[in-house]
C-alpha cells in the first residue's frame, strides 16, 4: 500500500474579514491522499476548492490572514513546521491565469526560476530543465518569451516551471479555465502523463467533469466548505441526488444511463458508465 503524502486533519479555515454571518471557507475537512494518486476536486463556485489548494502548498496560512484550526501534513510533516520555500519544492502549484504566473524573460529563465531560488546547483538545474523540456514537449520554446506563446503553451510552461523544483505533489487550480478546447486537452494529456509515467501525485480542481472522469482515480466533492463525497468516479457519480442538490451535473453518459434505468427501465443493472468510451462499448455489445 502506497504511503500517504498529504493529509488534512479536521481542517477549518476562515478568511480574515469574512462577515459575521458568513461561513468558514473550509469546515472540518479531513482527507488523505496517497502517493501517485490522481485526485479531482469538484464543487460549485465558492465551495472551498481554491482554499483547499492553498492549504496544500502552505499559501494558507503563510500568505493569507485568517483562523486555522486542525492540521495539514505533507509527507508526514506539519506544514506549520516547514519553511515556505522548502514546501514549494515539495508541492508544486499551478493557477488558472497562465500569464499571471509567468514572470521571466524567456521560457529557459522561467524553468530555472524556481530551482535557482532554492539555490539548487547549476548543473542540477540544467539537468532538470533538459528532462522537463522533453517530458512537457516545450523544447522548441526554450528561448522564446513566455508571453509570445498561446494559452495552452503558457500553461505547459507554468507546469514545467514547477516541475523543475521536483515536487512530489502537483496542485492545479483550474488550469484550463482560460484555454480553448485544444489547449485544455493538451494540458489534460500532460497532467495524465505526469501522473502515469512520472508517478506524480496530482490534485486537480476543474469544472470539466466529463474530461476529468476519463483520467482521475478519485473525486472529492466539496460543498460550502465541506467534503460531501469522496471516492472513485463510479462511487461518487452514483449519488446523483447529491449532485443535483449542489448544482453540478454528472457526466452526460452517466445521466443517460440513470434515466434509462429509472424512467425507461432499460438498464441491465450493471454499473453506470462514467466516460463516453464505456458507454460506446456497452452499446457496441448490442449494435
Amino acid at each position: 500500500m502506497a504511503e500517504t503524502v498529504l493529509e488534512f486533519k479536521n481542517v477549518t479555515w476562515r478568511y480574515e474579514g469574512t462577515p459575521k454571518k458568513g461561513r468558514n471557507a473550509l469546515e472540518d475537512v479531513s482527507l488523505s491522499v496517497k502517493k501517485g494518486e490522481y485526485v479531482g476536486i469538484i464543487g460549485a463556485n465558492d465551495a472551498g476548492k481554491s482554499t483547499l489548494c492553498r492549504l496544500c502548498n502552505g499559501l494558507i496560512p503563510n500568505s493569507f490572514n485568517g483562523d486555522l484550526s486542525g492540521d495539514v501534513f505533507v509527507n508526514g510533516r506539519n506544514i506549520k513546521d516547514i519553511p515556505t520555500a522548502q514546501l514549494a519544492g515539495e508541492v508544486g502549484s499551478v493557477f488558472a491565469d497562465p500569464e499571471a504566473q509567468l514572470s521571466q524573460i524567456s521560457v529557459f529563465d522561467e524553468l530555472a526560476f524556481g530551482p535557482s531560488n532554492l539555490e539548487v546547483p547549476r548543473e542540477e538545474i540544467i539537468k532538470r530543465m533538459e528532462e522537463t523540456m522533453d517530458i512537457m514537449g516545450i523544447r522548441a520554446f526554450r528561448d522564446r518569451s513566455p508571453f509570445s506563446l498561446s494559452g495552452g503553451e503558457q500553461q505547459k510552461v507554468a507546469i514545467a516551471s514547477v516541475m523543475t523544483m521536483t515536487p512530489e505533489i502537483l496542485v492545479l487550480d483550474e488550469p484550463t479555465s482560460n484555454l480553448d478546447p485544444i489547449g485544455t486537452e493538451s494540458v489534460f494529456m500532460i497532467i495524465d502523463e505526469l501522473n502515469k509515467k512520472e508517478g506524480m501525485t496530482i490534485i486537480l480542481v476543474e469544472h470539466e467533469i466529463e474530461l476529468m472522469a476519463q483520467f482521475v482515480d478519485r473525486f472529492i466533492v466539496l460543498d460550502e466548505g465541506q467534503v460531501i463525497l469522496d471516492g472513485t468516479p463510479e462511487e461518487v457519480f452514483s449519488h446523483r441526488d447529491v449532485f443535483e442538490k449542489i448544482g453540478i451535473f454528472v457526466p452526460t453518459v452517466t445521466e443517460i444511463a440513470s434515466i434509462a434505468d429509472k424512467k425507461y427501465g432499460s438498464w441491465d443493472g450493471s454499473k453506470y458508465p462514467i466516460t463516453l468510451n464505456e458507454m460506446l462499448d456497452k452499446i457496441d455489445e448490442r449494435l
Binding site: T84, G89, Q101, L118, E119, F147
Partner: protein, 285 residues
C-alpha cells in the same frame, strides 16, 4: 505580441560578448567623452561606436530608433547652441564671430562649436549604449545587472515590469473596447475625460487580480528564499571578453594620458570661423 525590448537577435562578436564588457565600454566611452572638449577625439568615439553598431547589426544600425534619436539631436543641439549661446557670455560676444542669417538673426560660431561638441559627446554615449541594448537579450541584461552588483530583487522587479507593459497595454485596449461598446461617447475632449473612470477602475481591478495570482505563483516558486539564486548563465569571461575588456581599459588610459599632457583641447578661444573649428581641431594649432 509586440516585443517592447530593443534587442536585435544575432550572432556577431558583440552578441557573444559578455554583458559586463559592454557595460564597461559604456562607462569608458562616457568618461572619455567628458574628458575632452574637442571635436576630434569625440568624433573618434562617435565613428568607432557607429562602426561597432554596423558590425553588430549591419544596416539596421542606421535605421535603429536610437540612431534616429542621434540625428534629431544633431539638429536641436547645433541649431540651438548657435543661436542662443547657452553658456551666456561666450567668446562670440567678445570676439564677435557671428554669421548673420536672413530672418533668423545672429548665429555664433562659438555656439556652433559648443553644439557640435555636446552633440558628439551625447551621441557617442547613446551609440555605445545602442550597441549594448541591441546585442544583449533582456535575460542577459538582467543577469548582467545582477552580476555587477544590483540586488536580485531589483533586477527581478525590472524584468517583471518590462513583461507587464505589453499585457497591460492589451488589457487597456480590451477595456476601452468594452466601454465603447457600452455607449461611452468619445466625441469631445470632455467625453474623453469622463471616460477615464470607466477605463481606470477595471484596469486597476484586473491588475489587482493578476497581482494576487502572481504573488501566489512567485511564492510557490520560492521567490524571496534567497538573495543569491543560482546563476545559470556562464559567468566566466571568454578570451575574447578579456581582449575586449583590455581594449576598453587601454583606450581609457591612453586618453587619460592625452588629457593629462594636453588638457581638454578646448579651442573655443581660438576660433573665428567654422572653417577654423575643423582646421584647428584636426590639423592642430
Amino acid at each position: 505580441m509586440k516585443d517592447i525590448s530593443l534587442y536585435i537577435p544575432g550572432n556577431s562578436f558583440f552578441h557573444r560578448c559578455d554583458c559586463r564588457v559592454k557595460l564597461l565600454f559604456i562607462a569608458v566611452y562616457t568618461v572619455i567623452a567628458y574628458m575632452f572638449f574637442t571635436p576630434s577625439v569625440l568624433a573618434f568615439l562617435f565613428v568607432t561606436a557607429m562602426v561597432f553598431n554596423v558590425i553588430a547589426i549591419g544596416s539596421k544600425a542606421f535605421t535603429h530608433l536610437m540612431t534616429k534619436m542621434v540625428v534629431i539631436m544633431m539638429f536641436f543641439l547645433i541649431i540651438i547652441h548657435g543661436f542662443v549661446n547657452p553658456v551666456g557670455v561666450t567668446p562670440a560676444t567678445v570676439y564677435g564671430h557671428t554669421i548673420t542669417l536672413p530672418f533668423f538673426g545672429k548665429y555664433t560660431v562659438e555656439g556652433f562649436y559648443m553644439g557640435l561638441v555636446n552633440w558628439l559627446r551625447l551621441s557617442s554615449v547613446i551609440l555605445i549604449a545602442e550597441l549594448f541594448v541591441t546585442t544583449t537579450s533582456p535575460a542577459e541584461m538582467m543577469s548582467g545587472f545582477h552580476k555587477i552588483g544590483l540586488p536580485y530583487n531589483f533586477c527581478f522587479m525590472l524584468s517583471a515590469s518590462l513583461q507587464l507593459i505589453p499585457i497591460s497595454t492589451r488589457e487597456a485596449n480590451i477595456i476601452a473596447s468594452a466601454q465603447r461598446a457600452r455607449g461611452l461617447s468619445e466625441k469631445t475632449l470632455v467625453d474623453r475625460f469622463k471616460g477615464l473612470v470607466p477605463m481606470f477602475v477595471p484596469l486597476v481591478v484586473s491588475s489587482l487580480g493578476r497581482m494576487e495570482t502572481m504573488s501566489m505563483a512567485l511564492e510557490s516558486r520560492a521567490f524571496g528564499n534567497t538573495t543569491k539564486p543560482t546563476e545559470l548563465r556562464d559567468s566566466h569571461f571568454k578570451k575574447s571578453d578579456f581582449a575586449a575588456a583590455a581594449l576598453a581599459i587601454v583606450m581609457l588610459f591612453a586618453f587619460a594620458g592625452i588629457r593629462a599632457v594636453y588638457g581638454s583641447l578646448d579651442i573655443v578661444n581660438q576660433i573665428s570661423s567654422i572653417r577654423d573649428i575643423f582646421a584647428l581641431s584636426f590639423i592642430g594649432r
